[in-house]
C-alpha cells in the first residue's frame, strides 16, 4: 500500500486490455507446452508441482488481492481436496482422475460453504485468526482419526488413470508424471487461469474490488457485502481444493502436514512473493516458491531460516512482489527509453 498508484495502475491496465494479456500469456503458454521435451524430467515434475500450487494460490488471491481478506486457513481446502481423493481410493477404490476432481470439488464446496458462512462476517485479523482456527480443526481431525486418515503416516494414492482410462500410469511413473500428468495439469491450469481471469474481470470481480477498497461505499452503491464475500470465499476455496486433488497423485501420499496452518502460511508466502496486487502474481510466486523451497531444502537443513529471511526482506523492500516490481521497472524503463 506504500505506492498505491503504482501498484494499482497495474490492475487497471491489466484489466483494461485483452491485447496486453495475450502479449504475455501466449509466449508463456507456448513455453509451458514444450517444457517437458526440453528439460530434465525432474525439473518438469517440479514445474507440475508449481502449476498445481499456482492454481491454489490463484484461488487464495481472489480473497487477499481482490476482496481484501487475508486467510490463514487455505491449507484446509487444499487438504480437503487431497484427502477426498485419498479416501476415494481407500474406500471406493476409485482410480479415475476425473472422478477425483469431481469429488474434490464437491468436498471443498461443502467445507468452504460451512467455513465461509462463519468467516465472512469478519475482516482483518479476526478473519485471519478464525480461518486459521477452523483449518486447525480439520488438521487435528486428520491427525487424530488415524484409522480413517492414517494419522501421521498419511494415506497413499496410486497413479490415477486420466481421461477415463485413456492414459494410465502403468509404465514408468516418473515418465508418466513428467509428461501425461504434466499436460493434464497444464490444461486444468489454463482452464483455471482463464476462469479466474474472467471472474476477476467480471462485474462480480469489480464488486469484490469495490468491497476491498471501501466497504461502506460498496454498500451504498447497492453491493450486499456478505453475499459477495461468501461467493468469493467459495470460489477461492474450490480452486485451492482442486489444487489439493491434483497434488496428491503427484506426491503419492497425503499427510496431515498439508492441513497444518503453516502450510497456509506457505500459500500466503508464495502469493506475496509473486505480488498479490496483480493477477499473475500468485502464479509466478507459486512456481518460483516451489523451486526456491526445493532448492533451499536441498541446499541446507536451515531452509526455513533462508525462506524466512527472504520473506522479511521481500516485505520490507519489495511489497509489490516479483510481478509488481517487474511492472514498475518495465514502466520506468519504457518511460526512460
Amino acid at each position: 500500500m506504500s505506492t498505491p498508484a503504482v501498484a494499482a495502475s497495474a490492475i487497471a491496465r491489466e484489466a483494461g486490455s485483452l491485447r496486453h494479456v495475450f502479449r504475455w500469456a501466449l509466449p508463456v503458454a507456448v513455453i509451458l507446452l514444450v517444457v517437458p521435451w526440453i528439460v530434465p524430467q525432474y525439473t518438469a515434475i517440479l514445474l507440475t508441482y508449481g502449476l498445481i500450487m499456482a492454481i491454489g494460490a490463484l484461488g487464495f488471491n481472489l480473497l487477499l488481492g481482490y476482496t481484501g481478506l487475508l486467510s490463514f486457513g487455505h491449507s484446509a481446502y487444499f487438504g480437503v481436496g487431497a484427502y477426498v481423493v485419498a479416501l476415494m481410493v481407500k474406500y471406493l477404490r476409485v482410480g479415475s482422475m476425473e472422478l477425483f476432481l469431481l469429488g474434490a470439488i464437491v468436498g471443498s464446496v461443502i467445507v468452504t460453504a460451512v467455513f465461509g458462512f462463519v468467516c465472512v462476517r469478519y475482516t482483518r485479523i479476526f478473519f485471519g485468526i478464525l480461518t486459521l482456527a477452523l483449518s486447525q480443526v480439520l488438521w487435528s481431525l486428520a491427525f487424530k482419526f488415524f484409522w480413517v486418515t492414517g494419522g501421521t503416516d498419511g494415506l497413499r494414492v496410486p497413479t490415477p488413470s486420466l481421461l477415463a482410462g485413456l492414459a494410465t500410469g502403468t509404465g514408468d511413473k516418473t515418465d508418466f508424471m513428467s509428461h501425461a500428468y504434466y499436460y493434464y495439469v497444464l490444461v486444468i491450469f489454463f482452464a483455471c487461469v482463464v476462469l479466474m481471469w474472467v471472474i476477476v474481470n467480471s462485474p462480480f470481480g469489480k464488486a469484490l474490488q469495490a468491497i476491498r477498497d471501501n466497504e461502506t461505499r460498496a454498500e451504498f452503491v447497492g453491493v450486499q457485502i456478505w453475499r459477495y464475500r461468501f461467493v468469493a470465499f467459495l470460489v477461492s476455496g474450490v480452486f485451492t481444493g482442486l489444487a489439493g486433488a491434483l497434488w496428491v497423485p503427484l506426491n503419492g501420499l497425503t499427510t496431515p502436514d498439508i492441513m497444518h496452518w503453516t502450510f497456509s502460511g506457505e500459500i500466503v508466502f508464495m502469493t506475496v512473493l509473486g505480488g498479490f496486487r496483480s493477477f499473475a502474481g500468485p502464479i509466478v510466486g507459486a512456481i518460483v516458491f516451489n523451486y526456491l523451497k526445493t532448492y533451499a531444502v536441498g541446499y541446507t537443513v536451515y531452509w526455513q531460516l533462508l525462506l524466512g529471511a527472504v520473506l522479511v526482506a521481500l516485505v520490507v523492500s519489495l511489497p509489490t512482489g516479483i510481478v509488481g516490481t517487474a511492472e514498475r521497472l518495465a514502466a520506468r524503463w519504457k518511460k526512460g527509453g
Binding site: 486459521l132 482456527a133 486447525q136 480443526v137 500466503v268 526455513q304 525462506l307 524466512g308 529471511a309
Partner: protein, 291 residues
Amino acid sequence: MEVLLIHLVNALLYASVLFLIAGGLSLIYGVMRIVNLAHGNLYAFGAYVTAWAIGGVAAGAPSSLLLVLLPAGAFAAAVLGAALEPTLLRPFYKRAEEYQLLVTFGLLMILEDLLRFIWGPYPLSASELFENFGSLTIGDSLYPTYNFLVIGVGIVAAVFLWAFIYKTRFGVVLRATSQNMRMASALGVNVNRVYVQAFTLGCFMAGLGGAIVVPGQSAVLGMGVDALVLAFIVVVIGGLGSLEGALVGALIVGVVREAGIAWFPEIELAVLYLAAAIVLLVRPAGLFGRP
C-alpha cells in the same frame, strides 16, 4: 475423587503456562495492535535457553542453583524481544495488517531454524530439576511436586501483572497508550519507548512460560508453532488485547483440554478449536474484548 483432583491440577498447570503465552500475545496486541505470529517461538526460545542452562551448563548443580537459573529463558526472550521490536516491527505499524502478519510469519520461520541451528534437532531436557522436586501423594497416586511450582508461578505472574498494569505508573501510561496512542503522545508519552517496553514484557511472559514448562517436558522443535495456535484459541475466547480475557481464556482452555484428554482424546483439539469458533460467533470480540 482424587482422579478429579488430579485432572483439576493438570488443568491449572496447563492454564498457567497458556496464560503466560497468551497474556503476552494479548498484551502486545492490546498496546500496539500487532499480532505477532512469532510469539510462540519466543516461548520456545525461553524453553531452550532454560533447558540449556539447567540441563546443560549447570547440570548436576544443587536444586537451589537450578531454581535460580530457571528464569534465564524469560530474560533471554525479553532481550530478544527488546532487540526485535525497534528493528523489525516498528517500520510496519503504519503499513497494512497483511504486511505485519507476513513479517512476523517470516520471523517465525527464522526463529524456528535458529533454535535448530543453536541447539540442534534433538529435544533438550531439563528434567533434573523436575526430578529433584520429587512427588507427593494425592489419594493413592503420586503427583510431581514441580507442577505445583508451575501453577504457583502462573498465579504469581497473574497477580504481579495485574498489580503492574493497574497499580504502577508504567501501567497507567501503558493503558493510556493502548487506548489512545495519539492522545498519549500529545500528553508527552514517548510512545516508541512504551512500545519497546510492552513488547519486551510480552516476550518476557512468553519466555517465562517456556522456562517453567521445560523441566517437566523437554524443549522440542515445533513447540512454538503449536503453542501459538493454542494461544490464539485463548485470546479468541478471552478477547484479543484483554489480560482478564487471557486469564479466563487460559482457564477455559485448560479445563476443556483436560476434560478432552480424559473423555474424548481423539477430538480433544478439534473441540478446542470449535469452542473458539463458537465464542467468536456469539461474541465476535471474545468474552472480554471490545469490538
